[in-house]
């Protein structure tokens, strides 16, 4: 009994945080789907943590709890992988941006020089 109180309250807190982050525009739609799906799985499991025992038996895992641990671990690995992929993309983009800024600085510098030269000539 006390186990399901623990797991269900954690499940609800998790879902609340996810929904609130979404509402504040802190999560984008593509992540929203992932986290809502995770929330939708976690909350019912929290209320009856033993629900997976039968499924666990079917796939040859001793207990539902081990199955959740295993599933959670695989999921976290995938999320980490995805974040690494996103970070690589973002690094590539900041690199492009930095180059762009450098090119703009050159262009602005050249324009300023031309202007100074013109003012010199006009004098």
């Amino acid at each position: 009994m006390s186990l399901s109180i623990l797991t269900s309250s954690i499940g609800i807190v998790l879902l609340t945080v996810i929904v609130e982050l979404l509402r504040r525009h802190r999560l984008r739609e593509k992540y929203a789907v992932l986290w809502m799906a995770i929330g939708a799985v976690v909350v019912p499991l929290g209320f009856c943590p033993r629900a997976l025992d039968r499924v666990a038996g079917l796939v040859g895992v001793a207990s539902g709890v081990s199955l959740v641990l295993f599933g959670g671990f695989v999921l976290l690995l995938l999320v980490c992988l995805h974040l690494s992929w996103e970070a690589s993309r973002l690094e590539e983009k900041t690199r492009t941006l930095a180059e762009e800024v450098a090119l703009l600085r050159v262009a602005v510098g050249e324009a300023a020089e031309r202007r100074a030269a013109r003012q010199e000539a006009a004098r």
Partner: protein, 261 residues
């Protein structure tokens, strides 16, 4: 009234010259800003050759990113109205007048949408795509208190108030550039209305017709709508944006330069 046409363009080099030529012939009085959204082809070159102003994004941001840049530009350069026009030629420049008329007059709106289903033209959608459009239209119309039959139309005109709002808040997510941005405007309390316009078949590209894609579209439309309606509204548009100060400095520099010539 100073009007800026903002035209987001992504790999549109093929048809862009003709679209811009027609726009200039029909409406020589409006300024045009083409936002090259990280194209891999010669879009920016073609646009420059047509004599319009071009802003080149270093990489693809999506229509939402390109449009927010356009609205920031329009706001910073003191335009009274900004009109979004697609680069693929499906929007008829002759209809610009219809949109702009909606911004003025006794029942003026802050945002005017050129709607495909409101009588003019012969655009039809079928299957899940049609249901998605129906759902979007029903919910947004209810929020707005007026009938908006074409929420995904990319042919819209806005005044300075909405321009300031869009300059601060213009989602880049899927359908965000049309549906979520529209819901944001409605929830902020700006007046929105639609005018019927006929759209032409696209000059380039073909619309997708796969039923699977249409079903995915329906699901995503529902999600975007649910998010748009429940999400917290962003803070109201602040005073001048940082770009304003930058542009003031730029126009100051222009004046100095012009004086030196």
């Amino acid at each position: 009234m100073r009007v800026l046409v903002v035209m987001p363009a992504w790999n549109e080099a093929r048809g862009l010259a003709a679209v811009l030529r027609e726009l200039r012939e029909v409406r020589p009085d409006v300024d045009v800003l083409v936002v090259d959204d990280g194209s891999a082809d010669r879009t920016a070159e073609v646009a420059r050759a047509s004599g319009v102003r071009v802003a080149v994004l270093p990489y693809n941001l999506g229509v939402g990113g390109a449009m927010r840049l356009g609205y920031r530009y329009a706001l910073a350069h003191g335009y009274d109205a900004a009109v979004q026009v697609d680069a693929d030629g499906q929007h008829d420049p002759a209809q610009l007048a219809v949109l702009l008329d909606g911004l003025a007059g006794p029942d003026a709106a802050d945002l005017v949408i050129g709607a495909r289903f409101a009588g003019a033209g012969s655009y039809r959608a079928r299957g899940p795509r049609r249901w998605a459009m129906r759902l979007l239209s029903a919910v947004v119309s209810r929020l707005a208190g007026v009938r908006l039959s074409d929420t995904t139309s990319g042919f819209r005109a806005c005044n300075r108030a909405v321009m300031a709002h869009f300059a601060a808040f213009y989602p880049v997510e899927y359908l965000g550039d049309t549906v979520e941005s529209l819901v944001g405007v409605v929830r902020r309390g700006y007046r929105v209305r639609q005018v019927p316009v006929a759209m032409r078949p696209r000059a380039t590209g073909v619309p997708s017709t796969s039923p699977v894609k249409a079903a995915v579209y329906l699901a995503r439309a529902g999600l975007v709508l649910a998010l748009a309606v429940t999400r917290r509204l962003p803070a109201p548009p602040p005073g001048p944006l940082p770009a304003q100060a930058a542009s003031d400095a730029a126009s100051e520099a222009d004046r100095v330069e012009a004086g030196a010539r």
